[in-house]
Amino acid sequence: MSENRPRSTPAPAAAPPAEALLEIVDLTLRLPGAARPVLDSVSLTVAPGEVVALVGESGSGKSTTAKAALGLFPAGAVASGSVRFDGTEVLGLTGERLRAHRADGVALVHQDPRAALNPVRRVGDFLVERGAGRAEAVELLASVGLPDPQRRVRQRPHEMSGGMLQRVVIAGALAARPRLLLADEATSALDVTTQADILALLRTLRAEHGLGLLFITHDLHLAAAYSDRVYVMYAGRVVESRTASALFTAPAHPYTRGLLTCSPTLGDTLTPLRPIPGRPPSLSDTFPGCPFVERCAEAEPTCETWSPRPVPLPDGGAAACAFVNAEPGLSPVFTAVGNRPAGRDRWAQTQADGADADEVNHA
């Protein structure tokens, strides 16, 4: 970002409404053979009617987090912490109760609709299997904007386009009348205009049905524009959780800033794109300190050993960085964002007046 965009209005409270629909607390997931946890102390909430985005590179754990809400884990995974949906602990569910949870409360919209639909079965069968009646199936297809739903219910997936199939998958997700919709890269496989249609559709449906929507994407711009709150994940951890506007105007974590500056912005051809150096970490990488340290332009020697934890921000959000200023009095510090020179700057240090990392940690 090149321009200085000072915050004009006070940041809204980033804390979710009290009666959270989905509440994940300190979820840690270990896989046999992996050097580090797939998920490390992930906490996240979604309230009814709220759109929450989960952003990260592939392998950051965003899909795994979303699937945890369904009680769906990779084979051999060992989970600790808590995943509560509507007050029920999902981690303890087994057998019929787990199945009922997946069938009723939460629905997942898969990334690739062509892979999510059984190629040899009819679209109508797919909807009926997910709890719709035969007549209802036609209505559902109409409600997700599919023309000629009477004919569509008798078609098979290979007779339809990717955008149409994604509408079918969304209709299937709605068939069970869920209260929380998980959209796992639901639009990434579609072309841009279809993408916009589907996004608009999801928003309408959320409003009509009062759904909570957990929106998983690798596109931070899209996330910030589309949702109420954003969680940014890196290496199985939540590195920043903010309201969408706060995140976009004043990202607190260096990784978030990296994500914002490495993708092009409309109408801005002057600012050079700055890719985040290095590669996303794999499951065989372990980190004694901050996992982002090797790719971070602002890393200090202390980062090598600082074990990340969410540091509350003055606007109610949190960021897991040693150099985030936690002192409420020193806000707003974010106006400095756009002025940083390219390269290795000392943003947190200068703004926080040399605040000691250890002090920050106590906050």
Partner: protein, 288 residues
Amino acid sequence: MTAILNEATAPASAPALAAVRARRPLGVLVAGTLLALVVIAAACAPLLAPYAPDTIDLSSSLVGTGRDHLLGTDSSGQDLLSRALYGARSSLVAPLALLAVAGVLGVSLGVLAAWRGGWVDVLVSRLTDVMYAFPGLLFTVLIIAVFGAGMTTSVLALGLAFTPTVAKYTRSLALSEARKPYVDAYRVQGMGGLRICATHVVPNLARAILGYLVVLFGEALMSLATLSYLGFGAQPPSSDWGLMVQEGQAAIVQGAMLPALVPGTAIALVVVCFNVVGVWAADRLGRQ
């Protein structure tokens, strides 16, 4: 901590796999020991057998197990143990001869097809296709219908019937072998194709082909025993196992099961053991 295993998508856990691998050598050991015993028994049949295999004694027809006849006798009073011991010889040697025929023909055709390519390859493939159009034993049965029954005819006919399989397998191996750089190097030195194949390509494939033939042994034994049972293979007074089953079958209705069951069990036992050892051996031969 809650351990959550995703039902039905869980792959074999590491300990389970290890257990399977650990159990296999035991099975191979048992099967191998049994086979060795059968081979030794067949080789030492004259020493071990209490009677000559063709001693007819009508006074002790269809005797059950007892001190005189450990496994009883058949309807002509011949000692079943002695017959089974002698029968092991033809029952074990004939499949070897069959595989030798199929091996020589199949390897030659397979290498030829892979080496020459073009119309030769097409011709060999079409020939094997026509043979595949005959299900199971029918090709063999046709040859026997023309040339008459007998062990030699059966071995040759089954050898021909097994040839396409061996040729197909060899061809796939030889295709990749012929593309290796050393082949070109020998060609540049002026070595002829036949010589390169005979002195390098075939020896290099020998282990894998041998492994494949070992796996086929059980099927070869079963097929030969079946032909003998139908009266197409071994002819009386041979005590080939397949023929013994045929001869003993009439006594079953009279309540004497041993004449058919003794050779029948011998066939099943040897085939099972050979399949266990064969898969293991092919695995080892193919890997190196």
